[in-house]
Each structure stands twice: as structure tokens, then as C-alpha cells.
């Protein structure tokens, strides 16, 4: 009887924590997407500055990426298709990690286009922040997948 309460609390925590973490992560990406959506030309300039995508593709990236963040972030906040949203965000952050690493290696001193509240240059800080988001999204996905598969 004495052991039951902690187990219930554990179960509650296992249910609540991923949801809270998911909502916070989704909120961050939704806000980031909103910023890019409303400042689309500025974001296109940031994409061009990376000099990675061919010119015709830079516009597509600048148009589509904000919507990936808006849809995945928004749905994660709403609690819809959570694991798929997490997977999409993990993919997004992993790709951005590669882009940042290549840009750092090339020594380009450009605006990262990833600042939530202020403009920031590509640097170690941006790289670390992206890494945190990648671990956050990837870890949460793994956690939720494990929980669902163990139930079935």
C-alpha cells in the first residue's frame, strides 16, 4: 500500500512531463515560424547569406521552412500527432546543425536567421542552442515511442 502512491505519482510525472516539454518546444518553434513568416524577405536574405542553396531554391526554403515550424510547433502545442511533429522538428534541427557546422567551418560571419528575440551571428552559441533543441525533440520522441510501445 505504501508503495502505491509513489508509483502513481511516477505515472503522472511520466504522462505530464513529456507533454509540458512538448508544449514548450512546440511554442518556441511556433513563435520562430511566426517571426519568419511575417518577415519573409528578411528570412530569404538570411537564407541567401549562407550561400549553400542554389538561388532558385533559396526562395523555396525561405517560403517552406517557416510553415514547417508553424505546423509542427502548432500541432505539438495542440497535442496532435505529437510524435510525428517531434520527428519533423528533430529532422529540421539536425539539418540546421549540419548547415551551421559547414558555415562555421567556412568562416562566414553572417546572421544565423535563427534568433528568436534578437539577431545573432552564426557561432558556437547558435550551434549549441540547435544541439539542445535536437536533443530535446529527439529525446522526447524516443521517450514517447518507448512509452507507447511498452503499453501495447
Amino acid at each position: 500500500m505504501a508503495n502505491r502512491k509513489p508509483k502513481t505519482e511516477n505515472r503522472k510525472l511520466n504522462w505530464l512531463l513529456p507533454r509540458v516539454l512538448g508544449v514548450v518546444l512546440g511554442g518556441i518553434f511556433f513563435y520562430a515560424g511566426l517571426q519568419k513568416h511575417f518577415h519573409d524577405w528578411d528570412f530569404a536574405e538570411a537564407v541567401l547569406a549562407y550561400q549553400l542553396a542554389p538561388l532558385w531554391l533559396a526562395g523555396v526554403v525561405a517560403a517552406v521552412l517557416p510553415w514547417v515550424e508553424l505546423i509542427a510547433g502548432g500541432m505539438l502545442v495542440a497535442g496532435l500527432k505529437r510524435r510525428s511533429c517531434l520527428l519533423l522538428l528533430a529532422l529540421l534541427t539536425a539539418s540546421f546543425l549540419v548547415v551551421l557546422t559547414v558555415t562555421l567551418a567556412r568562416g562566414l560571419k553572417i546572421d544565423c536567421g535563427c534568433g528568436l528575440f534578437f539577431q545573432r551571428q552564426v557561432g558556437v552559441l547558435a550551434l549549441l542552442e540547435d544541439l539542445v533543441f535536437l536533443v530535446w525533440a529527439g529525446g522526447l520522441y524516443w521517450w514517447e515511442l518507448k512509452a507507447v510501445s511498452s503499453k501495447q
Binding site: 524577405w41 532558385w56 526562395g59 517560403a63 514547417v68 509542427a72 500527432k81 510525428s84 560571419k109 515511442l145
Partner: protein, 169 residues
């Protein structure tokens, strides 16, 4: 369902969401995408930037690369590097001094009070996209410096042209 099956299902939904995002993005930002397909995006952005700067930094004199180099050759002008100190230390225009926007905010800064108000000053930052040079030039004009100009190409254009540079390391 097995873990692998769940993963496959999640991936399929993620792909669907990606397609949905692509559709929304392409429709909502069609003018941007269209310009990009036509290869005119960079030129259009340049035009937009120039228009914005004309409004935002009204009254600030600007210089292109050849005009800046001409002043450099005459040797009378003071070149101000408005980038971060670590970037300045790495490489800067020969003879330039480092004066970041934060230092210019305080008009009584010793770095500023040592400069004659009527001296020809050329301010530059990293590259053509940055506005810091214009901000510093505008602030210096407000502080009473009469011959300030912003070199818009920035250090990148100067370095690529092979003009004299120096390091503080």
C-alpha cells in the same frame, strides 16, 4: 504495433506534414518563390534594402568601394571599424580604429572625444548586408561630426579587392 511499425507510421505522418507545410509555404509566399525561380531574388532584396536604408538612414552619406579606396589613398581620412573587437583584431582595414556601436552611444567616450569634429571619417562594418556602419555614422553625425560617411561594401568587399589590411594579433 511494434516499435518499428510505430516509427514507420510516425515518419509517414511527418512526411505528410512536410508536404502540407510546403503547399502552404509555396502558396502564401508565392511572390518570393517566383522571384527566386526567375533568379531575381538577390537583386530584389538588394533593391528593398537600398530603399529601406534611404528612409531609415536619411542624410547619411554613403561610399562605394572605389570612393572609399580613393579616400584611403589620400591618407587624410580616419577609418572606423564598427565590427566586434574580436573581428577587428583578426583583420581590419590598415590604420582603422575599432569603435563599436556601444562605444558611440556615449558621446563623452574618450575614443570619440579624441577625434576632431571636422575630420573626414569613413565607417565600415562586415559586409554589404550589415547596417552597423550606417548606425554608427548616423550617431556620429548627431554628435556633431561633420564629414562622416558609411562605406557600404564593408570589410568583405575591401578584403576581396585585395586592398591593404592589418591585424592586431
Amino acid at each position: 504495433m511494434s516499435r518499428r511499425g510505430l516509427c514507420r507510421q510516425d515518419l509517414a505522418w511527418a512526411a505528410f506534414l512536410l508536404v502540407l507545410a510546403a503547399a502552404f509555404g509555396l502558396v502564401k509566399h508565392w511572390p518570393l518563390v517566383n522571384l527566386s525561380f526567375q533568379g531575381k531574388l538577390a537583386a530584389h532584396l538588394e533593391e528593398m534594402r537600398a530603399q529601406r536604408r534611404q528612409v531609415q538612414f536619411q542624410g547619411v552619406r554613403t561610399l562605394n568601394l572605389s570612393q572609399a579606396y580613393e579616400l584611403f589613398q589620400k591618407g587624410q581620412s580616419l577609418f572606423i571599424d564598427a565590427r566586434k573587437p574580436e573581428e577587428y583584431q583578426e583583420l581590419h582595414i590598415a590604420g582603422a580604429v575599432n569603435l563599436s556601436p556601444e562605444k558611440v552611444q556615449r558621446g563623452d567616450n574618450p575614443a570619440l572625444t579624441g577625434i576632431a569634429k571636422e575630420r573626414q571619417i569613413v565607417v565600415y562594418c562586415g559586409e554589404a548586408h550589415c547596417d552597423i556602419a550606417l548606425k554608427v555614422a548616423e550617431k556620429m553625425q548627431a554628435l556633431g561630426f561633420t564629414q562622416v560617411a558609411a562605406f557600404l561594401g564593408g570589410f568583405k568587399a575591401w578584403d576581396e579587392a585585395g586592398y591593404p589590411v592589418d591585424t592586431s594579433k
